[in-house]
Symmetry: C3
Subunit: 560 residues, 3 copies
Amino acid sequence: MVDFDDMKEMLKYWTKKYMFPIALVIFQCVFIVLYAVHADYGFEHDQSSYVTTSNSPPPEGDVDFYYPYFQDVHVMMFIGFGFLMTFLRRYSFSSVSFNFLVAAFVLEWAILIRGYVFDWNSTAKTFVVDVKSLLHADFVCASVLISFGAVLGKTNPAQLVIMALIEVVIQVWNEYIGLTYFCTYDGGESIYVHVFGAYFGLAASYSLQRKKVVESEKESSSYASDIFSMIGTLFLFCFWPSFNAGTAYGEGRTRAIVNTYVSISASVVLTFVVSALVGKGKEEIIHIQNATLAGGVAVGTVSDKEIGLFGAMIIGSVAGTISTLGYKYLLESLKKIQIHDTCGVHNLHGLPGVLSGLAGIVLASMPWRSLYQDNLTDQCLGGGLNRSVRVHAGYQCAGLVLTLGMSIVGGLLTGVFLRLPIFASPDNDSYFDDSLNWHVPKDFVAEDSALGSLIKNILPGQMRLDETPLEPTNNPNTIEVIQETQPTHLIGLMKGTLNQKTSEETQPTNLIALMRGTINQQIDENRPRRSTSARDDSYPSQILRSQETPASPAVYVHRL
Amino acid sequence: MVDFDDMKEMLKYWTKKYMFPIALVIFQCVFIVLYAVHADYGFEHDQSSYVTTSNSPPPEGDVDFYYPYFQDVHVMMFIGFGFLMTFLRRYSFSSVSFNFLVAAFVLEWAILIRGYVFDWNSTAKTFVVDVKSLLHADFVCASVLISFGAVLGKTNPAQLVIMALIEVVIQVWNEYIGLTYFCTYDGGESIYVHVFGAYFGLAASYSLQRKKVVESEKESSSYASDIFSMIGTLFLFCFWPSFNAGTAYGEGRTRAIVNTYVSISASVVLTFVVSALVGKGKEEIIHIQNATLAGGVAVGTVSDKEIGLFGAMIIGSVAGTISTLGYKYLLESLKKIQIHDTCGVHNLHGLPGVLSGLAGIVLASMPWRSLYQDNLTDQCLGGGLNRSVRVHAGYQCAGLVLTLGMSIVGGLLTGVFLRLPIFASPDNDSYFDDSLNWHVPKDFVAEDSALGSLIKNILPGQMRLDETPLEPTNNPNTIEVIQETQPTHLIGLMKGTLNQKTSEETQPTNLIALMRGTINQQIDENRPRRSTSARDDSYPSQILRSQETPASPAVYVHRL
Amino acid sequence: MVDFDDMKEMLKYWTKKYMFPIALVIFQCVFIVLYAVHADYGFEHDQSSYVTTSNSPPPEGDVDFYYPYFQDVHVMMFIGFGFLMTFLRRYSFSSVSFNFLVAAFVLEWAILIRGYVFDWNSTAKTFVVDVKSLLHADFVCASVLISFGAVLGKTNPAQLVIMALIEVVIQVWNEYIGLTYFCTYDGGESIYVHVFGAYFGLAASYSLQRKKVVESEKESSSYASDIFSMIGTLFLFCFWPSFNAGTAYGEGRTRAIVNTYVSISASVVLTFVVSALVGKGKEEIIHIQNATLAGGVAVGTVSDKEIGLFGAMIIGSVAGTISTLGYKYLLESLKKIQIHDTCGVHNLHGLPGVLSGLAGIVLASMPWRSLYQDNLTDQCLGGGLNRSVRVHAGYQCAGLVLTLGMSIVGGLLTGVFLRLPIFASPDNDSYFDDSLNWHVPKDFVAEDSALGSLIKNILPGQMRLDETPLEPTNNPNTIEVIQETQPTHLIGLMKGTLNQKTSEETQPTNLIALMRGTINQQIDENRPRRSTSARDDSYPSQILRSQETPASPAVYVHRL
């Protein structure tokens, strides 16, 4: 007789375990079909004759015009964002790899969605994919990766993929409305990408968290992981001008490069200034890793406009200042209202993005600088090609508000959806820990603690995250055996933890945590005896104590 | 009287020690002479007037057409391959540095060989070196670096240089025959570079190994070394479109970029899928580091053809799948038949390369997609410019078979040659260890073991890889002295190991290994006594035991 | 009543602590004003019509001509130099971050200074900032970063900023005189950038040091920091052709790329050769990190000339050789005459730069190769456009001598200025230590020593660089309490060190050093007893000793 409950349980178990790869395969198949039916290289366009002037857009499909910029932006997505997020000392594999996966997945998906929304040729029933499409897909990708930064370490890859799937659609539609109907200029995509990505991520993080506080010792960096993170920072810094100038042309491209370059340099300087001021003369590496880049975000919307180099510098300086202050003070405040922001995307992308939107509004009132008419078409609301300065300023504002609205609502709903039980959202103890999703190298446990490392070396095999749990009876050197001869409560505790760990592999630091706890506890118990007993004069001697006190629990730290 | 035997020994010793630098100097001098006689910048070509159409090849020596692609490929060779190989936790210096040396050496040599074989101007007795030549030299370099990946950690630099010297000649001739006479198209060099490099390396590895099994604890990664490796992965990923599109032009270049981009993204997604499926829901970082790139290899041969974006996605998906499965299952199988493949080049370059070759054969039957006539010249066998579709498919196949044959035979013979005693091939114990070829930093021993590190810190000077062995009598804190008072066999063993180590510096982990062994042995000896003695109730107490059991060997683990 | 002395002290304290950020803010404000008044995008230039021939300079403001080269050079400055300097195991944050700050600051400043000196349009009272300006600013930046390499780890950021401020002005004026009046060609800026930067830095280092010897255990690398450094090396290697070819055009650009590529490859090979020869068959990673790049420097002055590929190879080979020998032998010699050169910039930039200058002089005697007339203008001294070969060789020499003179004098004076008490120059004990300027992660102390790490884990809170020093009475587990019960001198010492450390955070390794010292001392005291007492038969047993010898100081290693 078939037991339906068992089958249901089984199915549930398998779904949780394999939902992620299976869902990915299905999406991949769907993508292939859509590409087969609708994507096209686009060489039917006549490209044989065109005249290059210094201030006209390039011909359709001009690979050399876009390719170097595309490559720079590509590096920003995979190396820049990927390594920027490796700062978590026990989550570096996931940071860099899930960034890799999400980015690759989004590129495939964004080309499709942008193709349908922006580039759909209703006659041929196709859309064109050329280097410019790849570049645009990278921009969409940036948006998703920014949101990823907000939920980093608190989600599993299945959730990330679903979040990306949803976010791409909303982001593209938001940008389509903003560009086509509102005609909100946003050269460096600060509104459509940075603001959208940041607030979508924050909203998703809030609604995923269900008002539970994120509290984990593992949410910290190590000396090496902070340096890895600087790789990301510096590539983002170097290639930011390509990001902002990627789709510009003619004089606008030069202005975008120069403005971004000056603005981001200014934010570097101000970040060091503010970090030293608020840090009592010492710098914080987290500020340098992140806030230095705020100038690139903040100049984005107006990067190709006639803002003047001094304008770019002022924007960059302000951005570096508020971003650093955000990292110093706002991060904790947001945490208190249950908005946990792992990478601080609010400070790096959210605030500077809004600043950029505001700069765009201010600039709109100076038409000789904003050159806003270059961005108008017949389709624009509010007057089409004849839109007035005042109206345009309003639509700049509308674009920002629309983006804020769509990202926050979209993020909240996505977060609610991702809380469905089927996604098996990780809990607080599994946060920021690679061992949840990875077969980790042997030094992964040890890195957390030199004590763990010592233990591991004296008795290799006890603390390894082995695939197959050790059989206690087959391995007489285990805790199990020790427990038989000396069944103190401490050993019991330890054994429990160990067995759980080797069989489930989920929480490799618990043992260490427990041990520390035990040692401290032991210390407290012994303190009264300290002055009366030569043996127990101070606790550490017990840790290293000999056979005179055979039942002393602290010995087992070493017995492990 | 001169002792000829001594002199012979002396000569042999010096040869072994200094053969590598001396051979390099000699090659360098030969290269300089050859460059002086035959190389030329090539500006006699008329470049003053040409018309750029969107689908014609660039003028000879057009630097701007090739330079951005060349730079991307250059980064792939030095950063990409270099860091991809740093995953070995104790061989990172060698991985990144010998990659550096071999690549630089091959670039010099490949420009020469390609100049003589491909570009020889028999009138002027010169060949031209321009940016396109540098790009082609980088392709040759890729081939050698792939082979390097197969023998990584098991060869000394002298062997690597000789292997490179031989491989370049065979690779260039193979490609020349394939391109000129067989006219086998291979836009992204998947056959001529990836298949060739992989099977050459595997064959060399097999024949170098002489059927001995490679078994080393040091062949493993650490958390940090795996992240370093991801730097390589991500740069290879980002710049792979430049690799495949480097020598294409016009519409072919755009197609090569777009196809490669889509294909490699698909292989990223499928790698995560398959890795999770075979890993019971958890990912393996080695798959992410390598198999993600298989899509770039697999689309190579047909990258500039009209395969459609869906075609590229299918190829990439299949490649990611088989590459991941290869890493999971094939790597061990090959090891069993004495083909040890350190980096798994068979799975990243071999299999996907063959897949690419097969795709080329299949595509050849669709002339409207393969556009194979663009690749034909008068010199082509099988009909010259009028070659039929069927014949061309045959020559696609012939190109693949030729490459497989030349690479395997060439690799086997090269491996046999490298086994000559003069090369002083390292043995199994020296594999995957930087201390064989490098003056390593002080934390190098310690990194292997926190115990070693503890020892080192309590008694600095004992475990350092000092240039000058410590004199036991001058240093009363050494093991030597301990041994005098307590000459147990264990101490003897340890002392022997230590002295050997400090004087020879070759096997820094032996001591640790021995110690571990001894502890375990000790444990076994003590186990019967466990239940009868309060003192020896369990082995770890002995490790930390006090003076009551003065001869207990385990104490010395701490005394060290 | 106001206490003026107190106020003065207070002011002095605040100045020291906050001078750096405040000075930066002031400079930033000045820069913004200057940019507002004088900088311009430069689109009034007529760009609408020009004919591109293969050997003419690009039109003014041509972004695509310069942008890819600029980006490569940009990566060299921030990633290349930044990571190259991370080799110091305890100074990686500062290396990569202060490099970041100084580079960003210099870019802003160099655009201004170069604008005033080189590009000043006295009619419009403006100068143009386009991509070419950014590229030139990066060159100036290289010069300052080279000098930074010489004083790395021995200066605080305030000193670095002031040094940069001064150096930029001198460097730009030196280059202006050299290029405009002496007409000394220097395509790859080997004289104006590399020689200038190296000797300026060495002179500043000498005069900063006031004849005190730099002696620090912290001036060393770790396995990981050496690999981080290789990231810098390899990006510098890859993009060096862009550095040397950045401002060249036409055939000169191709030659610059090919020559640099060949020369730097040759120096890689020779570096491995010489490193193995002088290292008794083993390589030194410091040579590979640095001397491999000497070929790029050494070919700089003549990189765009008709030196032939063999000429480039010879130059590169010589450069690699002398640079490696410099690192092996000269570094220590210079240290003895109080010129401490942290990164060995003398060997990587100084000597190869001078070699390049000499190559320029030699080449000047071969006008068919030097094409020196391309570099002449009406303004040139010594004959203007009609300068003779012999005179030009003299001016090549004069340019080198001028640069040496200005850099050495400028550096010496700058060093003297930076010794002013207001700069609060760090002392020898704070050298090469991030904790002076950074809030460091918790593993920063531990990384230095596994013992420290063990201690930290057994008693977390004792060795952390906490912001707020622990109150001994509130924390009964501290050394303080132990000392009360067992007031040996050792404990006193330790406690003193601990307290000092937790309150001042300046010298995290002192404790470890002291401990080591104490253990050794303890060992010596016990040695006479060794043979007479079963208990004290050898010192390490004491380290692990039990309660029988309660006052044994060595116990406290574990009590910590």
